[in-house]
Each structure stands twice: as structure tokens, then as C-alpha cells.
């Protein structure tokens, strides 16, 4: 289904763009040494990934290491990923703070050849295309549209069990719609997963495909 694409926006560049629209992204950083990664962790659990166009399915390619907090584990993980990455040049090694628990959703964007930018909300994670519990709207969306996107999901009571979470997701959808409208060059977008946790949310993985 998914094809390789070289027009992908650099991860940290995408993070900057999201931040410009006040969209939360989990703490993320490129590292060039094991020490860098240890310093980033500072005792907290982290995730370490190799980013490369040649390894789009990071989990399948074995280039993701989860839940690292001890310095020796971080160092070992770095060595391993560094070695694997030599076949995946050009590459970058990314570390992120690890969020434990929470509910995963997807918010995405696409460009319809006739009607332009569209925004998608769904029950997220790796099974998003299996469950296909998603709703779609054409951008720009209104508050009504955003609420109705949430309400039309079978999983609405899981992802938005109360007014606060409903409003939070609504605001997030409005921000993503705005970003899609103001950045013509983003032809496809996956924020998947966005993890809802502790009354807030963080985008964890992201994929920005740039148009011609």
C-alpha cells in the first residue's frame, strides 16, 4: 500500500513546523553519539530510532529500540542501531522521550486532485488501516466539522470520553487544518500515533510528504 518516497520532510523540520502551530510533539532530538543520547534521557525512558528513506517500516526493519533508561542500555542500543544504519545511508538517529500508556489516535492530511486538502481523524496506531475507524473532512474545517469528526467514530468514547478531551481533539484538528491550508506543499500527512495521555497529547511519529 505505502510506497517509498523521497519527498519526505525532515523529521525535526516537521517538528518545528508543528510547534509553530502550537501542536505538541514528544521531546525529540537527533543524536550523533551514545553520550548525546544518555544526556537526552537524563534518567527518563527514551525511544531510539533510525530515520532513513530505506527503512520506512521502522518496527519491521528492527531499527527501533523502546524503553531505554539505563546509560549502559542506551549505549548498547546506540551501537546496535549505528551498525545497522550503515546500510541505510543517508540516515539519522533520533531519540524521543517515551510515553507509557495512553490512547493512540491518528490525524492525517491528504490532497484530493479535485477538492484539495482533506483532514482525517481516526483510532490510531499500527492497526489504523485494519480498523479503518476514521472520519474525513475537506479543509478548512469548522468547529462543527471537528466535533462531528469525533462523534462519527465508533471509538469516540475511547478517544474522547469527556468534554475536556473532546475540546482538546477539536482544537488539535483545527490547528492541523490550518497548517494544511497554509502549507500548500504538504501533500500527505500522517501524525500517527498521537498519544492521548494525562489530560494532554503528544504527536509521536510523523510523516510529511511534500508535493511536486
Amino acid at each position: 500500500m505505502m510506497e517509498e518516497n523521497n519527498n519526505m520532510m525532515d523529521f525535526m523540520e516537521a517538528v518545528q513546523l508543528l510547534k509553530k502551530y502550537n501542536i505538541n510533539v514528544v521531546g525529540s532530538k537527533y543524536v550523533e553519539s551514545a553520550d548525546d543520547a544518555v544526556k537526552f534521557s537524563n534518567g527518563d525512558p527514551i525511544v531510539m530510532k533510525v530515520l532513513s528513506d530505506k527503512a520506512l517500516h521502522k518496527t519491521k526493519s528492527g531499527v527501533v529500540k523502546l524503553d531505554l533508561s539505563k546509560p549502559e542500555d542506551i549505549k548498547a542500543a546506540y551501537e546496535d542501531l549505528y551498525n545497522k544504519a550503515q546500510e541505510l545511508k543517508p540516515y539519522k538517529i533520533l531519540v524521543q522521550k517515551m510515553i507509557k500508556g495512553g490512547t493512540e489516535i491518528i490525524i492525517g492530511g491528504n490532497t484530493d486532485p479535485q477538492f484539495g486538502k482533506a483532514i482525517l481523524l481516526g483510532f490510531g496506531g499500527i492497526y489504523v488501516e485494519t480498523f479503518k475507524d476514521v472520519s474525513l473532512r475537506v479543509c478548512p474545517i469548522t468547529n462543527y466539522d471537528a466535533y462531528s469528526m469525533i462523534d462519527s467514530l465508533k471509538s469516540k468514547n475511547i478517544i474522547a470520553p469527556d468534554k475536556e478531551s473532546r475540546d482538546m481533539i477539536k482544537d488539535l484538528l483545527m490547528k492541523v487544518s490550518k497548517m494544511l491550508m497554509e502549507n500548500e506543499n504538504i501533500s500527505e500527512l500522517d501524525l500517527n500515533p498521537i498519544i492521548l495521555h494525562d489530560g494532554t497529547y503528544d504527536a509521536v511519529d510523523l510523516r510529511f510528504i511534500l508535493g511536486e
Binding site: 500500500m1 505505502m2 510506497e3 518516497n5 491518528i106 492525517g108 492530511g109 491528504n110 484530493d112 479535485q114 477538492f115 484539495g116 482533506a118 482525517l120 481516526g122 489504523v128 488501516e129 479503518k132 476514521v134 472520519s135 474525513l136 473532512r137 475537506v138 474545517i141 469548522t142 468547529n143 462543527y144 466539522d145 466535533y147 462531528s148 462519527s152 500527505e188 500527512l189 500522517d190 500517527n192 510523516r207 510528504i209
Partner: protein
């Protein structure tokens, strides 16, 4: 363009180009339709050979007609249509309907382009080609070439109908004709070569005769303008839509999860959702929705006051009600108190209110009266099974009596054979829609609740 559609629907004069004395020809049916509907304007048959058709003086060419014609209906073979259209341009015809087929829809792009360029040259508003045209029973306009004995022509009313396809159009008009629904305007537009769906919606948005609209659409020609008019009309009147072409064709390879789940069909669904359109999957559902929205007010909430004279059907209906996001109303204490007094002891005073298989019209009447006036009820739903000993025409009459009294929407669920069909007619004649399945009734009620919410909230 929308102004030109207005002319087509109420022309002072009509020329039928390709009019024929042969009852098997399209050009005969069209002319005959205008006569049958007692069209009040001038009619000009155009035919190269005949001097008169159906008692009307015929002309060799539109250019010979002594006045500027409001509408020309073109029903000549496809290859000569550009020429005929050019004559219409020179004769300064105000609007044109081309019913002839054989253009882009069969791959004859060149001929279609010729037609479009001729229309552009004279700035001619052209409906079609490859369509069955327009119908307005109030003004006696009917370009449909379907032999009238083969289908039930609808009565005059407030339901508008727009169809890309001619065959779907014939079927739905026939179905409308068979129901107690009246038609305001019908427009079929075929290849949408000049006048397209956006123009038609722009016309219907301000058409006061059309209170509810049903649309059969395969795709929209315009993009942003279509979304814009869809959003405006959805806020003004209920729009019931069926979209053909559910399978995405020609979609490009996706690079993301999102793109793989956001095909062309889903985009249309999204637009309809944002415009508050009521989406139906087939013509059956479309008609079920149409007969509700045509006659019933919008509900203020989703609490259904369900009355039944059959236990099992009551259970099925309850399932359907909850499955579609509705809920059963809990009647007020005063309602319950009253019902306890008037109902026999076998009747359990709770919803669904099962008034028993032996319920006659007086028991129905007491139950309906109570539920209709109960503040906890937003929609009144009555299951009336006419196979039961107590149910007869007086029950149908008792239900029908509330059509004009009840300020809340009402639906009836009634399934059965010919005896039931007869009573269904009585009830529907009063304006209350009858459904043969609880699921369809629940779907319709849920659509009404959703549309009502949309009208209340979409401005924010």
C-alpha cells in the same frame, strides 16, 4: 446560469426541435407531455417535413419561428445537434435542453466539444446532452420522453429532484408518483457539459417551491464552487443525496495511511457531511428519507416515544432505535398516571408502550394522545400491526388524525400484505410516513435528528 434554469422551468414559449407525429419517437412524447400538462405558453414543433403535428403548426427551422423562444428542446440525432444548436444561437433562444445521447458518455468527445463550443459562441445555457431534461408540474413543463402510461407522474408538491442519470430519474419519479409526495421541480442534466450541478443547486437554493431536495449524483464538475453551494443549500433545506460510483477509480499510489483511506468517494462523503446532506445508500432509503422530510417537522431531540400493538416488533424497533443512536423516551409521571387509569391492567406502563395485541382504535387513541403531549418525547413512533384483531381502518384513521395536531415528527411502522397496504395508504394520505421495517424507520429518525442538530449548530 441559474437564471436560465428559471426560464426553462417557466418559459413563455417552447420549441420542440425534432417534434414528430410518430408516437414511437422521442420528439412526439415531449410535445405530447406539454399538451397533456396543459402548458399555457406557445408551443412550436420544429420538423423538416411536417406542416402540423398534434394539431400545432410546425416549422422547418427554429429560425422560422416568428418570436424569440424561451426554451428549445432538442431531440434530433446526435450528429446534427451542433448545427441545430447553432441555429438556436442565431435565433437568440434563451435556454436549451438537449435530450439527445451519443456524446462524451459513449466516447464521442469531439461531438461533445463541438456542442460546447457552439454553446459558448452564443452564450447559450444548455442542459444536457444525454439527459431527460426538466419537469415543473406547476407551469406544465415536461421534457421527459418516458411514455407517460409507463410511470406514475407525481403530483405537484414541494420535493425537488436533481439527477445526473436519466434512468435513475425515471425510476425515482415513478416511485415519487406512487407515494404521497408531490414534486416541485425536476432537473436531469446528463453530461453537465454547460449547465452543471453547481448551477442547478444555485438555482434551487432560492426556489421557494422546493422545500426538500433529493439528488442523485455521480460526480461534481466544479470543485470549490460546488462545496460552497452545497454548504449554503444544506443550511437552508434538507438535501437527501445518493452518490453513485462507490469504488475509487484512478487513485494514485498512497505514501501515507491517510492517503490510502481518503479516496475520491470518501471525499464526497466528507463534503456531504460538512454540508449537512442526508446520505442514502440506495433509492429505497432515499425515498424513505424523502417522505419523512417532505411532510414532518424536524425533531428537537433523539427521544422516541414508541407505541406498539406487537411485543416482538416493539423489541426489534427498540434495538433499531438504539443501534441508530436514538433512545426510548421515559414518559413523564403524569403521562404514566393517566395511562394507568385508561389502559387495561395487562398494559405495562413503560416504553416501548405495548398496548397489547387486542388494542383497538380507542386504546391507540389514548396512547397516542398521551405520548404526543409528553414533554419527554421528541419523536412519536407508532407500530401498528394490522394483522391483530383490534386493528382496523379506525386505527389508521385515529393515527392520521394526529398528523395535523402533533407538532413533533411522527412515523408509523407497519408491515404486512394487502390489508396492511390499504391502511398504509390511509395513514400516508394524512402526511405521516409509514415504514415496513423498524430499521428503516430508525434510520430516517436518526437522519432527522442529525440534520436538526446540524441546522442548530453548523453556524458555530
Amino acid at each position: 446560469m441559474s437564471k436560465s434554469i428559471g426560464i426553462m422551468m417557466n418559459p413563455k414559449s417552447v420549441a420542440v426541435i425534432g417534434a414528430s407525429p410518430d408516437p414511437d419517437k422521442v420528439g412526439y412524447s415531449i410535445l405530447k407531455n406539454y399538451l397533456d400538462l396543459h402548458y399555457k405558453g406557445k408551443l412550436y414543433p420544429i420538423n423538416l417535413k411536417e406542416d402540423s403535428i398534434l394539431g400545432l403548426k410546425a416549422y422547418k427551422s427554429i429560425l422560422d419561428v416568428p418570436e424569440q423562444v424561451d426554451t428549445a428542446v432538442i431531440a434530433v440525432p446526435a450528429p446534427i445537434t451542433p448545427e441545430v444548436l447553432d441555429e438556436c444561437g442565431r435565433a437568440k433562444v434563451r435556454s436549451v435542453v438537449v435530450v439527445t445521447a451519443g456524446y462524451a458518455e459513449v466516447g464521442n468527445i469531439e461531438l461533445e466539444n463541438k456542442l460546447v463550443s457552439t454553446a459558448k459562441k452564443y452564450n447559450l445555457p444548455v442542459l444536457g446532452p444525454n439527459c431527460v431534461g426538466v419537469m415543473d408540474l406547476k407551469t406544465g413543463v415536461d421534457t421527459l420522453f418516458l411514455p407517460s402510461y409507463k410511470f406514475d407522474r407525481p403530483d405537484e408538491g414541494s420535493l425537488g429532484f436533481v439527477s445526473q442519470s436519466g434512468s435513475v430519474a425515471g425510476t425515482i419519479l415513478d416511485l415519487i408518483g406512487g407515494e404521497d409526495i408531490g414534486l416541485s421541480k425536476f432537473i436531469s442534466y446528463g453530461n453537465a457539459s454547460v449547465i452543471d450541478e453547481t448551477d442547478i443547486l444555485n438555482y434551487l437554493i432560492d426556489d421557494d417551491d422546493t422545500k426538500v431536495l433529493i439528488i442523485y449524483l455521480e460526480g461534481a464538475k466544479k470543485s470549490k464552487e460546488f462545496i460552497d453551494v452545497a454548504k449554503r443549500i444544506g443550511k437552508k433545506k434538507p438535501i437527501i443525496i445518493a452518490k453513485g460510483g462507490a469504488t475509487a477509480a484512478g487513485s494514485k499510489a498512497a505514501h501515507s495511511h491517510t492517503a490510502s483511506m481518503a479516496g475520491n468517494y470518501q471525499i464526497y462523503e466528507a463534503i456531504f457531511e460538512q454540508a449537512g446532506f442526508i446520505q442514502s445508500n440506495d433509492l429505497d432509503e432515499m425515498m424513505g428519507m424523502a417522505k419523512f422530510f417532505d411532510k414532518q417537522p424536524l425533531p428537537n431531540g433523539n427521544r422516541v416515544g414508541l407505541i406498539t400493538n406487537g411485543g416482538g416488533t416493539g423489541v426489534l424497533a427498540t434495538d433499531s432505535i438504539y443501534r441508530n443512536g436514538l433512545s426510548l423516551a421515559d414518559l413523564t409521571d403524569s403521562s404514566k398516571e393517566y395511562l394507568r387509569k385508561v389502559m387495561p391492567p395487562i398494559v405495562n406502563i413503560r416504553t416501548p408502550l405495548d398496548i397489547g395485541g387486542d388494542a383497538d382504535y380507542t386504546r391507540f387513541n389514548e396512547a397516542i394522545k398521551t405520548v404526543v403531549n409528553d414533554d419527554n418525547v421528541d419523536i412519536v413512533a407508532i407500530i401498528a400491526l394490522f394483522q391483530t384483531p383490534g386493528a382496523d381502518s379506525r386505527v389508521a384513521q385515529a393515527i392520521g388524525n394526529y398528523a395535523s395536531i402533533c407538532k413533533k415528527p411522527m412515523v408509523v411502522i407497519s408491515e404486512g400484505g394487502s390489508y396492511t397496504a390499504m391502511h398504509k395508504k390511509i395513514i400516508e394520505g394524512s402526511g405521516i410516513p409509514v415504514y415496513s421495517s423498524p430499521e428503516m424507520a430508525a434510520k430516517v429518525m436518526a437522519a432527522a435528528v442529525k440534520y436538526s442538530e446540524f441546522r442548530k449548530n453548523s453556524e458555530n
